[in-house]
């Protein structure tokens, strides 16, 4: 008499477990994918977009009142990507995320080697010889950082202090001198 009820209780618990895992593992990532898709739709991949009210990049501006943001949804399937950045004289950081929002690389203004720097992103299957040749080419300076991302798609976020008008203008000027695009050989 009790065994059918016991079966349904176990069935309910297994359903709860499955839904819990599915929600925790997939829903947050799909939320991120929605934001990335909107950014790709409006601006395309491998392009630096400054977050402004109403545009797709603004969705990633978690602390918009105190930080200015610029984001680049990248796709490394057709080759490495180069992010050229000017580092302003105030708080600044670059952070590279994988497609599930996992942090792959970060650097801030106190760690940045120069006022102007390049971060070159390679995918999950880079040719080591190509990296060495690219690093030794005349196009690359000492202020180039190589990042092996282990992924093909993701998003890079530049952040800089932007609480006051002066801070924000410095951040926006630095972003205007920054870019995201295919790496030159």
């Amino acid at each position: 008499m009790t065994s059918p009820n016991f079966f349904w209780v176990i069935f309910g618990m297994l359903t709860a477990l499955a839904m819990h895992l599915a929600y925790a593992l997939f829903v947050p990532a799909s939320q991120l994918n929605e934001g990335v898709s909107a950014l790709l739709e409006s601006h395309g991949p491998n392009r630096l977009v400054i977050a402004e009210p109403g545009n797709a990049a603004a969705a990633f501006a978690a602390h918009e009142a105190e930080l200015a943001y610029a984001v680049c949804a990248f796709d490394l399937s057709s080759g490495p990507l180069e992010i050229k950045a000017r580092v302003p004289d105030q708080y600044w950081s670059i952070e590279v995320y994988g497609e599930r929002g996992n942090s792959l690389y970060t650097l801030n203004d106190t760690q940045a080697p120069r006022r102007q720097l390049s971060v070159v992103l390679y995918d999950d299957n880079p040719d080591p010889q190509a990296i060495v040749e690219a690093a030794n080419s005349s196009n690359r300076g000492l202020n180039t950082i190589t990042v092996l991302t282990g992924t093909t798609t993701g998003i890079a976020v530049l952040r800089s202090a932007g609480a006051g008008k002066l801070e924000r203008q410095r951040a926006l000027d630095a972003f205007a001198d920054s870019s995201c695009g295919p790496a030159a050989g």
């Binding site: 059918p4 839904m19 925790a24 829903v27 990633f60 950081s93 995320y97």
Partner: protein
């Protein structure tokens, strides 16, 4: 008989799904004591890349469409209540008292539930006396340092950049801000 099984199946499925989704959602909220970390009346949440981050702590950010900053970049401390346990309200005036944080940059802001910030102040916006800072949180202008308490604001947020070491120092010095209600209208 078949109808009874169908009802059991449907109810087990619905209850299981509700429990699974509800528990996963709860795990990714600040009220979850298993993930959030309390420091007196303040709480923090593991940031991206932190040794103690988990799919739940990651989900907290991603569900809002945000990308978590790397834990070495900033420490965010939150509170929704004053020192006596009263919920923060724009109808009241609060006095915040703290030692000047040692972090290279810090901000104090009031934020709404959706993450919208009603006001923000940085280390450059405050007057301090003998290393101590007093800030009044209120809807209307106050003498001294004033942080506007706008409608919809529910949480006070203290962010310290390069925060990891500073947070330890803050704990050691017991210098996290106190927040006392002065009056209510």
């Amino acid at each position: 008989m078949a109808t009874g099984s169908t009802v059991r199946f449907a109810s087990s499925l619905l209850i299981g799904a509700a429990l699974g989704i509800g528990s996963a959602h709860y795990m990714a909220t600040p009220s979850n004591p298993l993930i959030s970390d309390r420091h007196g009346n303040w709480y923090t949440w593991p940031a991206g890349g932190a040794p103690d981050s988990s799919p739940y702590s990651q989900a907290y950010f991603l569900l809002k469409g945000h990308l978590p900053e790397h834990f070495t970049e900033a420490t965010s401390l939150y509170r929704s209540h004053d020192d006596d346990g009263g919920r923060l309200s724009p109808d009241c005036v609060y006095l915040l008292n703290m030692a000047r944080p040692g972090a290279r940059r810090w901000t104090l802001s009031l934020a709404g539930d959706g993450g919208a910030f009603s006001s923000v102040m940085t280390q450059d916006d405050v007057i301090s006396t003998a290393g101590r800072i007093e800030v009044r949180l209120a809807a209307l202008p106050q003498p001294g340092n004033w942080l506007r308490f706008g409608e919809g604001a529910e949480r006070l947020v203290l962010r310290m950049y390069d925060g990891e070491d500073r947070l330890r120092q803050a704990e050691l010095d017991a210098s996290l801000p106190t927040l006392r209600q002065e009056s209510c209208s």
